[in-house]
Symmetry: C2
Subunit: 152 residues, 2 copies
DNA sequence: AGAGCTTGAATAGCATGCTATGCAATGATA
DNA sequence: TATCATTGCATAGCATGCTATTCAAGCTCT
């Protein structure tokens, strides 16, 4: 197997790299979603942060970090921008002086339907020519890759 | 089909959203790659930018933009950081006073092998439990989603 | 030649993410 | 109870990306 000796010198083809394609795909998803929800005054990370809050208002920042799997500092900054934009309020948590309860404003509550519709439309645009089986397979493969990288 | 009427009000489940999974997957790829190439003094976007340059030294910024599909402003900033880090030089292009030829330093040329090995290792970590067929299918599905979003 | 369009880059400003720190409120334990 | 560890957040600093703007160099066309 002589070719194995030359593996490290072989051209690294980005079109065949899962990481390269994942980056490009994620940027296109974010860009497309941003265009669709910009009229609502939302940015992608704000939409993502609203998802758990629409289901359960008043959870803490640390709970959001757990559910969305981003770093605490990232969430703190996103919440600051959402507060600035009138989407959330940080209220003192009576039970624990360290944590704050994140509450949605009426404005944020009203965005649930249109924002959800926009996000579904973006997913549909990406998977337009996928069959139902292909969609399920694609989601399953992404979940496995995520789980595999999470192990480290 | 009454349920259709309630589609917009249905919970948007992030685990079933291709865009959400793509974002999470891309972040994990970038984080893992960054850890692996940090000892080389490289960041992910710098590695990506080196790929076309290792194949063809001296191309222009606009050519890099075309090959890597990022915005011109993004590339300009990445190149500024790479110049700062001693990876590239911007030289005047004799044929066209507007463009500059991007040339690799010996330091950048020497990083080709170890950086390529690191990137392959990250892809392998993500796809560790994928069969060869699954890997090919995964890459093909990502390329199709990218192409579909590119149409807009 | 001169006006106007096109192209290649830089810069400003902002959103997302990450790591590293620092700090205050809790909790656990000797 | 005094000390130490843990937990919840904020902030600083930086890398990537994007849009919008500006500027200079080339090109076109009359």
């Amino acid at each position: 197997m002589l070719f194995k000796l030359y593996l490290s010198a072989m051209a690294f083809q980005k079109e065949r790299s899962a990481g390269y394609l994942a980056n490009q795909m994620a940027r296109l998803f974010a860009k497309g979603l941003h265009e669709r929800i910009r009229p609502l005054g939302l940015a992608p990370a704000q939409f993502m942060t609203l998802l758990p809050l629409w289901d359960e208002d008043g959870i803490s920042q640390s709970e959001l970090v757990r559910r969305l799997d981003v770093e605490q500092a990232t969430m703190a900054n996103t919440l600051t921008r959402m507060e600035r934009d009138g989407l959330i309020e940080r209220r003192a948590n009576p039970g624990d002086g360290r944590s704050q309860a994140i509450h949605l404003t009426p404005k944020a509550k009203a965005l649930r339907d249109p924002a959800t519709v926009a996000a579904r439309a973006q997913n549909e645009a990406a998977l337009a020519d996928f069959s139902e089986d292909e969609r399920q397979a694609f989601l399953a493969l992404m979940r496995r890759a995520i789980a595999s990288m999470h192990k480290d």
